[in-house]
């Protein structure tokens, strides 16, 4: 405030002698000026720029040669000899062409692949709809319930003329999307409650929340998954059997919940104490205060670390391979077990990496946009 007035005064003081507005010198704007200032500002900087440019160019040319110019895109009937002759000089995308359905859908019955494909489309559609602020209404919850029901029906089948497919046959991208979507959709509200609970004045609630966070954070996700798959059934009564995927799902929810809770708590702590006091002074109840004043501000503050955690968990779902669930990464690994296709791991992993990247990059970009939009009120 005070600095505003002083700058205006200074501006006025300097503007008085010369009435004509002055444009900045040409040399300080434009791409050439930018390059001169940032890339070629001295002889060391020029040398580093040139050396790096050379290395980058060589690498890019080499990659383009390998990935596109010398690449083989398909081979007839698993005749991979042509690919093997090109080892090191050209990529064998034929492995992806041949095995893409296995990579994407695992051991799901081949002629039923349209079902998991539709499930993936439904998931992506659900993400897009949920991402748009104009759909942020109560009805969105209904859309989610409907979409998730449809996804369940499609995957299992058994009705509407679709043959039943047991969960052991599911695999690939739908598994990854199911684990991460349900995982985060349940972990996030859980995390908010735990974060609020950790700041509660009631000692019992606070103790439970602290215990939960510390216990879960203290063990690696892998051991939690192991416990879920091996030990959890031991505690269940005879004859009762919870699906393996569900057990992994619960483990992921609990794990993500603990991490997200700490992120949310950071936001709650960063919020100015005056906001709590103003809400109290107006007589707002705890839940009104929390949902209208505290959470909207606290969550906005932690969008970057929240999305960071989201992205981390999206990729961590690949750890379920340890308990024999076929997610995208495991399906890819299994696809190249066949002798004819052994040794083409690079191509498969690049493809899978690209799929992961698309989802993670979309999340990251979206969060940047959301952050800018939600924090608009901070700008003057």
């Amino acid at each position: 405030m005070a600095s505003d007035t002083t700058t205006t005064q200074l501006a006025v003081a300097t503007a008085v002698p010369e009435a004509a507005p002055r444009t900045p010198p040409i040399s300080v704007i434009g791409p050439i000026a930018w390059m001169r200032a940032n890339l070629f500002s001295g002889w060391i900087s020029t040398a580093v720029t040139l050396a790096l440019a050379y290395l980058i160019a060589r690498w890019v040319i080499g990659f383009v040669d390998w990935a596109f110019i010398n690449a083989i895109w398909s081979v007839p009937n698993n005749q991979t000899q042509a690919c093997r002759d090109l080892r090191g000089t050209g990529a064998c995308w034929a492995v992806v062409t041949e095995k893409h359905r296995f990579i994407l859908f695992g051991t799901y019955p081949y002629e039923q692949h349209w079902r998991p494909a539709l499930v993936c489309v439904l998931f992506v559609g659900l993400y897009i709809v949920s991402a748009m602020r104009r759909f942020w209404r109560k009805e969105l919850a209904l859309v989610w319930i409907l979409a998730l029901t449809a996804i369940g029906i499609l995957m299992w089948g058994g009705i509407l003329g679709m043959p039943y497919v047991p969960q052991e046959r599911w695999g690939g991208l739908p598994i990854t999307l199911i684990l991460s979507t349900f995982g985060l959709a349940f972990a996030f509200p859980l995390a908010i409650l735990v974060a609020l609970g950790r700041r509660s004045k009631m000692p019992a609630i606070k103790a439970i929340c602290v215990l939960y966070v510390e216990l879960i954070r203290g063990v690696p996700l892998i051991s939690l998954l192991f416990m879920a798959s091996v030990m959890f059934p031991l505690f269940l009564p005879e004859g009762m059997n919870i699906d393996k995927l569900l057990r992994a799902q619960i483990a992921i929810i609990l794990f993500a919940g603990a991490y997200l809770a700490e992120v949310v708590r950071g936001g709650l702590q960063a919020l100015d104490k005056g906001q709590y006091e103003a809400a109290d002074a107006l007589g707002l109840s705890y839940w009104h205060k929390t949902s209208f004043i505290i959470l909207p501000q606290a969550l906005r503050l932690v969008i970057p670390p929240l999305v960071n955690t989201f992205i981390g968990f999206f990729k961590d779902t690949s750890l379920v391979l340890i308990i024999g669930i076929f997610d995208l990464l495991t399906a890819g690994k299994t696809a190249i077990v066949e002798p004819a296709w052994q040794g083409f791991g690079v191509e498969v992993y690049i493809t899978i990496g690209l799929i992961y990247f698309c989802f993670c990059f979309a999340m990251s970009k979206y969060s940047q946009g959301l952050e800018a939009e939600l924090n608009r009120h901070r700008r003057r």
Binding site: A279, A281, L282, G283, H288, F292, I293, Q297, H377, R379
Partner: protein
């Protein structure tokens, strides 16, 4: 001391029950004794200015009145109801007591209008339309109806503080508490906020105001209370207090204030 204050107050006012009663209130922060046997009565419609050196417990005292702080000994009655741990009665009391903070504490993610309508809608259960009409009425009274759709961050300090006053008034409180409402403001904005407070005083609102603005105290206060080290040292009408202070501590304080200005 306190007996004398009470006689002055009740002599000046009718025999309606006091709006606020503090009866030998004590408070400690850890081992630090910040309020020592504070006794005070504020009649309905009375305007009290509280002054005293920094750290003397002024904020703590008025924050005890709407229980942003809890006192540990003694009794506080607001509008005839005693402050206890009971959540229901606390909500009832907070509805009747508005508060304005030194640092405004507006909700930055809500527009000015939403800041003003939130509590009427959710605490008073007022329909949205009515709440907005009411908010516009008070925003007009504090002379910034044209800023209703802006966010607090887009306003000047003086404007923000006037929004904070309007926000508190939208709850139609019986009592208003001000904790150094002009201390965070640039000099040129102090007047617009004080003018708003003078206008509010003219409506007959019961006010307790922590401030060092002596001009304001002379203009509106029925009584000035001087606090030092957690005690009420002296109190009386502004002219008596400022022109012929009785205690050395008040004399010292006044000389420091005058030198500062």
């Amino acid at each position: 001391m306190s007996a004398a204050i009470e006689t002055v107050a009740s002599a000046a006012r009718t025999d309606a029950p006091p709006a606020i009663t503090l009866d030998r209130v004590n408070k400690w922060f850890g081992a630090l004794h910040v309020l020592r046997d504070i006794s005070m009565e504020v009649a309905l419609g009375e305007r009290v200015v509280v002054c005293g050196p920094s750290g003397s417990g002024k904020s703590t005292m008025i924050r005890c009145i709407n229980r942003l702080e809890t006192h540990q000994d003694g009794r506080i009655l607001v509008d005839g109801k005693e402050l206890t741990d009971d959540v229901r009665s606390l909500d009832a009391i907070r509805r009747e007591v508005g508060m304005v903070f030194q640092s405004f504490n507006l909700f930055p993610h809500l527009t000015v209008l939403e800041n003003c309508t939130l509590a009427p809608i959710w605490v008073r259960r007022m329909p949205k339309k009515d709440a907005e009409a009411l908010a516009m009425e008070y925003l007009t009274k504090v002379k910034i109806p044209e800023q209703a759709k802006k966010y607090p961050g887009q306003l000047s300090g003086g404007q923000q503080q006037r929004v904070a006053i309007a926000r508190a008034l939208c709850m139609k409180p019986k009592i208003m508490l001000f904790d150094e409402p002009t201390s965070a403001l640039d000099p040129e904005m102090i007047k617009e906020v004080l003018d708003t407070m003078v206008a509010l005083a003219d409506t007959g609102m019961t006010m307790i105001c922590v401030t060092h603005e002596m001009g304001f105290a002379r203009q509106v206060a029925d009584r000035v209370v001087f606090m030092d080290r957690g005690e009420i040292v002296e109190s009386g009408p502004p002219d008596t207090m400022f022109n012929s202070p009785q205690t050395d501590r008040l004399k010292l304080f006044l000389s420091q204030i005058l030198r500062g200005h």
